[in-house]
Amino acid sequence: MAPAWLRSGKLPQLKLPSWPWRITWLYLGFVLFLPLGAISLRAAGVGPTGFWELATTPEAIATYKLSFGLALLASLINGLFGLVIAWALVRSRFPGQRLLDSLIDLPFALPTAVAGLALAAVYSSENGWLGEPLYRLFGIKVAFSAVGVGVAMVFISLPFVVRTVEPVLRSLEKEQEEASWCLGASQVQTFIRVVLPQLLPAILGGVAQGFSRAVGEYGSVVMISSNIPFVDLITPTLIIQKLEEYDIDGATVIGSVMLLFALVSLLVINLIQVWGQRYQATSSGVG
């Protein structure tokens, strides 16, 4: 539906002055397109064969496996617990709910260096509140190992699923679930057949956002990892190591791989959002 001013054809008179556009393009050009151009130029200069070689060195592949694997694991764990937390926030009433709600935002608000310091301290095998018992009882070393990297990724990607699922869960009509119970479905059946399909786009969107964030995360991971290649070195840290060794081409190529991943993930997240909106539109149209 076009708004009235569009249909009445009054738009040309009301055209905004061009200076907001000028500022927008100038600023975007300076802070976004120029840096993107620089990395593309440098990556193009490496050439396709060189690019492929530098992008697939054993060291680089080991970091991809660690970064993408752990980020996927962390975002899936948060997919499950995020759903549970969103459910607790929307469908139950209990003391401390307000506090729980605000704690969820802490990983967004807390600077990543602080998060890294906190996690490194809590999960230290020597004297950490959680790390010491974990090491003593189960022999699990969390800080300065790949487990610690995973823990940091869980920490920073926790809010995403909660915050995408919460509004959708709030807007669900309870009548549908009641109808499903009246028709003889059990609660589990109702959840799987009626509730879950409606939440699915939100859950997937949240998982994808958390995954994308965890792959690119640096600050909180670098402090809890020992940053040893093939053990617990993540891709962003590898880029920094390459820069420190003045291997600019190596850093550029791996940085371009991360950049391509960021573009693809942005596309996927947008597609999931479009899908979710369409889903909501059709389901409310029927209901």
Binding site: L32, A38, G216, M258
Partner: protein, 302 residues
């Protein structure tokens, strides 16, 4: 309001005759278990690390904590952080408001694409943002390296690089908060102001800006909080020289690496305090935003 785990022995199954709404035993247990799991998980993953910072920072009492804060390196890091925010936040505010007024009320091909482009810094790893700046401005490897050398400027490993990295990482916040609100509202008020003879600048100051004031404030809080806490992008371009190009988040990591644990936790507690204040402010502005939205709805319904 409390939740009670039903005692299994005295629990009576609901009689089917009296309305179907009585909750089953299973749903009551489930109703208690879900919040319990949620609280345990968040307590373990988020609350415990957060508390540890507070405890470690004040482990020896308030006096040593304050002494730590007066370390000259820490104070210089605070100054650097404040300088960065003082440049990055106003610049991004101007861009955010300009982009919002330009984009929000127009329909054009590629609008969704442009919005995605503005969102891009949220998906790019901060380290890659820093890398891109190095490839652009580094005197040895940068595209503009020659120009910068001949002008005698220093961007990488100096404050301009830090400011630019911060700007890139934080510029989407403002536009993202303001655009949806402007899209929702109609053109009528601006139209009226123009008919009454206001110029574009007056329309912006007296009509557009007041109508999005809480959203803009919200964006401002998010921008500032992130600008004060940015680590990854800044660490690539700063050179991390103590007392010179170190921001507060970089100082936290550096002090921790040098085994100055108390100093690290002191600085971390300061940053944590800033984060808490930003969360509090966000909460207040969210309430104001909601009130405004309701007022708008009433107006448009009437």
């Amino acid at each position: 309001m409390t939740f009670v785990v039903p005692d299994l022995e005295i629990y009576k199954p609901p009689s089917l005759g009296k309305g179907a709404k009585a909750p089953s035993l299973r749903s009551k247990v489930l109703g208690a278990i879900i919040p319990l799991i949620a609280c345990l998980y968040v307590g373990l993953v988020i609350l415990t690390p957060a508390l540890s910072v507070v405890v470690q920072a004040f482990a020896k009492g308030v006096q040593p904590f304050l002494e730590n804060l007066s370390s000259p390196d820490l104070l210089s890091a605070v100054k650097m952080t404040l300088l960065t925010a003082a440049i990055a936040v106003p610049a991004n505010t101007i861009f955010g408001l300009a982009a919002a007024t330009a984009i929000a009320r127009k329909k054009f091909r590629g609008k969704a694409l442009l919005l995605s482009i503005i969102d891009l810094p949220f998906s790019i790893s901060p380290v890659v943002v820093g890398l891109m700046l190095v490839l652009l401005y580094s005197p040895n490897h940068g595209v503009f390296g020659g120009v910068i050398n001949s002008l005698g400027w220093k961007i990488i490993f100096s404050w301009p690089g830090i400011v630019m990295a911060t700007i890139i990482v934080t510029f989407p916040f403002m536009a993202r908060e303001v655009i949806p609100l402007l899209e929702e509202e109609g053109w009528e008020q601006e139209e009226a102001a123009k008919t009454l003879g206001a110029n574009d600048w007056q329309v912006f100051w007296k009509v557009t800006l007041p109508s999005v004031r809480w959203a803009a404030l919200y964006g401002l809080i998010l921008t500032t909080a992130r600008a004060l806490g940015e680590f990854g992008a800044v660490s690539v371009v700063s050179g991390n020289i103590r007392g010179e190009t170190q921001t507060l988040p970089l100082f936290v990591e550096d002090a921790y690496k040098q085994y100055q644990t108390e100093l690290a936790f002191g600085a971390a507690a300061v940053l944590g305090g800033v984060a808490l204040v930003s969360m509090l402010l966000k909460f207040v502005v969210e309430q104001l935003l909601e009130q405004d939205k309701k007022a708008h709805q009433i107006k448009s319904d009437a």
